[in-house]
């Protein structure tokens, strides 16, 4: 026996799941040469954190790491925390090198090159960027008796880049950048129907896909 009410709810649920806002994305890649990965974990992903206001979201880092290390032909990624602890304080946000031009100076510091060699990490990928609300508008009002009426929209931009550095040869290997914008809508006729643009997820997918392709 089926209940018609449940069917309607199911149909509405399917509609909500299948409808999303609009997302446009662009990915640029620039590679100097190919990487040489060994069987052991020789890549770490590090989030750029320049101050308390500017920090690549940990959720985004988790997404990138998961996308690279799972599925067919996963790329082994080392623990970022273990790497930073081994090389403390040289990769702490306050003093981490901001450009590959600073790498030779860093590697010349006592014990740093030896410790990096010992850690087995050859490449680091600096992931920098954030997802921010760019614009929004509309008007939506709700009443407990008659429901919600109106229309809201908002646009988010997700700009990220991944810079790949070779720690052994102290040089930059390449750069991947992604620029995604997504507009979400929320029309409401009694019931609000969110049409969410998954902006950050699209940026993660694009960046991880390019990074994985390059590291394999």
């Amino acid at each position: 026996m089926t209940c018609p009410g449940f069917r309607r709810i199911g149909a509405l649920g399917a509609l909500l799941v299948s409808t999303t806002g609009c997302v446009t994305s662009r990915i640029d890649t620039s590679f100097n040469e190919s990487v040489e990965l060994s069987d052991t974990a020789s890549v770490v992903l590090l989030a750029r954190r320049q101050n308390v206001e500017h920090e690549t979201e940990s959720g985004f880092m988790d997404c990138i790491k998961k996308a690279i290390t799972s599925g067919a032909d996963p790329v082994p990624i080392g623990s970022d925390q273990a790497f930073m602890d081994k090389l403390f304080p040289w990769f702490e946000p306050r003093i981490a090198p901001l450009s590959d031009e600073n790498l030779p100076d860093l590697l010349a510091k006592p014990g740093v090159a030896e410790r990096i060699l010992e850690s087995g990490v050859r490449y680091i990928v600096w992931v920098d960027g954030s997802t921010e609300l760019i614009d929004g508008g509309g008007q939506l009002s709700c009443d407990i008796n008659i429901g919600c009426f109106g229309f809201n929209w908002w646009e988010k931009g997700a700009d990220y880049e991944a810079a790949i550095w070779d720690l052994r040869d102290a040089k930059s290997m390449g750069l991947i950048s992604t620029d995604v914008s997504g507009r979400s809508y929320m029309p409401a006729v009694v019931v609000p129907i969110p049409l969410i643009a998954r902006t950050q997820a699209a940026a993660c997918k694009g960046l991880a896909s390019s990074l994985r392709e390059y590291l394999q």
């Binding site: 940990s58 304080p89 040289w90 306050r94 006592p110």
Partner: protein, 234 residues
């Protein structure tokens, strides 16, 4: 006023059997508990007690041939901050001896010899070249609700005073440290607060290990500025 008029509908006029005394007492107690809970909720915000504990890695630096003395005041060694947030909640953050452990670990890595001084002024017969006196000036935080974001943010301001063995005051070095929590999914507010505090403490340790030798050089402290100039540089 006519009290004989029926004030309620027919349902009220139905006769009800009296409740057993035990059941009545339970209902009264439950109602009293709800009332007390509501009154307490209206009267004040929540109280949070955060105990911060962690460890800091050994810094990858070479120690300098400098002997420093350090005085840890009781306030510094067992620092506790209590403040009321904008939303009316009370936050008590207890660092216990964490600050002293972190700072001391940095000093013992940065310098060949570190002596704990019992006082904030050098005595007549001391075995160090300069006395350092770390102090906490300020501790503040923003809860996710206040910052309108998903993370908990902490900022701290410390001073390290430099005192020569002859009592010369070489001034104080101001250190501003920041920390914030990371992923908030499925974690308690206490976990987030503790993580942000530890992050700020790690930032403080970074400043101390990298900045202290440079500060000694900049202040031209007698007899050790030359040795300190060989310290870690950015």
């Amino acid at each position: 006023m006519n009290t004989d008029l029926p004030r309620h509908g027919p349902a009220r006029s139905r006769s009800r059997a009296p409740l057993p005394r035990a059941q009545c007492a339970r209902r009264c107690a439950a109602a009293a508990l709800v009332a007390v809970g509501l009154l307490a909720g209206c009267a004040s915000g929540k109280q949070y007690l955060i105990s911060v504990d962690g460890s800091i890695p050994t810094p990858l630096v070479e120690s300098l041939p400098v002997r420093v003395g350090v005085y840890y005041s009781p306030e510094f060694s067992n620092y506790t901050s209590a403040e009321e947030s904008l939303s009316g909640d009370t936050w008590q953050v207890a660092f216990a001896d964490l600050q002293q452990r972190y700072v001391h670990a940095m000093l013992t890595s940065a310098f060949d010899e570190v002596v704990i001084s019992p006082t904030a002024t050098p005595g007549t017969d001391v075995s160090y070249d300069v006395l350092l006196v770390p102090e906490v000036e300020n501790f503040s935080f923003l809860t996710p609700r206040e910052s309108g974001s998903k993370f908990f943010a902490v900022s701290m301001r410390h001073f390290v005073r430099f005192i020569g063995v002859d009592g010369t005051d070489y001034g104080a070095w101001e250190i501003n440290s920041y920390g914030r929590s990371r992923s908030s999914f499925g974690r308690s507010i206490k976990d987030l607060a503790s993580e942000a505090c530890l992050d700020a403490m790690r930032d403080l340790a970074t400043s101390v290990i990298v900045g202290l030798p440079e500060e000694i050089v900049n202040r031209g402290i007698d007899g050790i500025a030359e040795q300190a100039s060989r310290g870690p540089r950015l």
